[in-house]
Symmetry: D2
Subunit: 111 residues, 4 copies
Amino acid sequence: MAAPGPELTVSGLQRRLAEFAAARDWQQYHTPKNLVAALTVEAGELLEIFQWLTPEQAADVMSDERAAHRVRDEVADVLAYLFQLCTVLEVDPLRALAEKIERNESRFPVP
Amino acid sequence: MAAPGPELTVSGLQRRLAEFAAARDWQQYHTPKNLVAALTVEAGELLEIFQWLTPEQAADVMSDERAAHRVRDEVADVLAYLFQLCTVLEVDPLRALAEKIERNESRFPVP
Amino acid sequence: MAAPGPELTVSGLQRRLAEFAAARDWQQYHTPKNLVAALTVEAGELLEIFQWLTPEQAADVMSDERAAHRVRDEVADVLAYLFQLCTVLEVDPLRALAEKIERNESRFPVP
Amino acid sequence: MAAPGPELTVSGLQRRLAEFAAARDWQQYHTPKNLVAALTVEAGELLEIFQWLTPEQAADVMSDERAAHRVRDEVADVLAYLFQLCTVLEVDPLRALAEKIERNESRFPVP
């Protein structure tokens, strides 16, 4: 009988990230300022994959398995630091996004 | 009776972001390369909030309501572009993160 | 008789930046880590100008006087933080670049 | 008799960068949008050196020869892309900075 997989929810992943850091005594590095810096660094690493591509090549990036793996890896890194930042600052990421979409719906009315 | 709120799930929010863009004819701008650039720009805007703060001031950023609002706003912007990128590239963000955590558990064994 | 303009050299501009910061008591904020964060933020603001442009629109950005002013303004901000970082870390920026070009000439020989 | 060193001026280095790219047929990649993306990526790599350091460790970064080399290397990369962007957009980087300092002197008068 297969073990149940880890729960794929935002709060479940936030918990796993917190446990991962705690087990390695890395929480001391995870100050808000450091986590935001790390998030920006990882966003840059994601951008690096695309920097010299034409729009057409960029649209086709996932058809190359190595590039596709790199994209998923860097997306994961950005998300990991963003979720850890949200844990430390007690921000609910999905709620923050839902509220932002609502503000944008007022700010940019459909023509 | 209150109307049911929008569903706070990753795929629900990805759908709302896609509808928001489609209603404004903005999908033409949402190429992978542009979305990654926008994600990096928003990460920079999040970093801007923290750039001159001491580690102590940064740890206390949410106690100022204006700064807290700005943090939630920029967290939402980063997440919005990351989720839209994942939609366009057909990457499952939570699965990508779960798989990365598993790779990191092998790569950085607990001492 | 016109006053002589400020000297347009890297070291002359580094001196003016240092005097500007000292006169406002801003040196306390200009730690290496903060200056690198600010440099990254300004690079993001420069990227923001280009994020939704097609390659063709981006190539033509200087023909719009407002966009051209914004570009020069953000280029200046990136350079300002880079030069201030170099001052604080005692790095000679032009020498660092010349040495990097030499390393790259060995690393990427002309075919 | 030693050969004369390459001239350490901004325009001299911009010329060497242009010759370096031309000899490798890389100019096709050096569109303004790509150069700005690359500049942001390199700023992120510079930030990566500092991301987990305390302010004290960051202030001491040049006392470690390996870290010092990495800092000079990344400073050079940021400068290389900034200068190449300026060449392509016909922006004079030192003049842009001098004019920005003048605007800032009006905007932030000394108390």
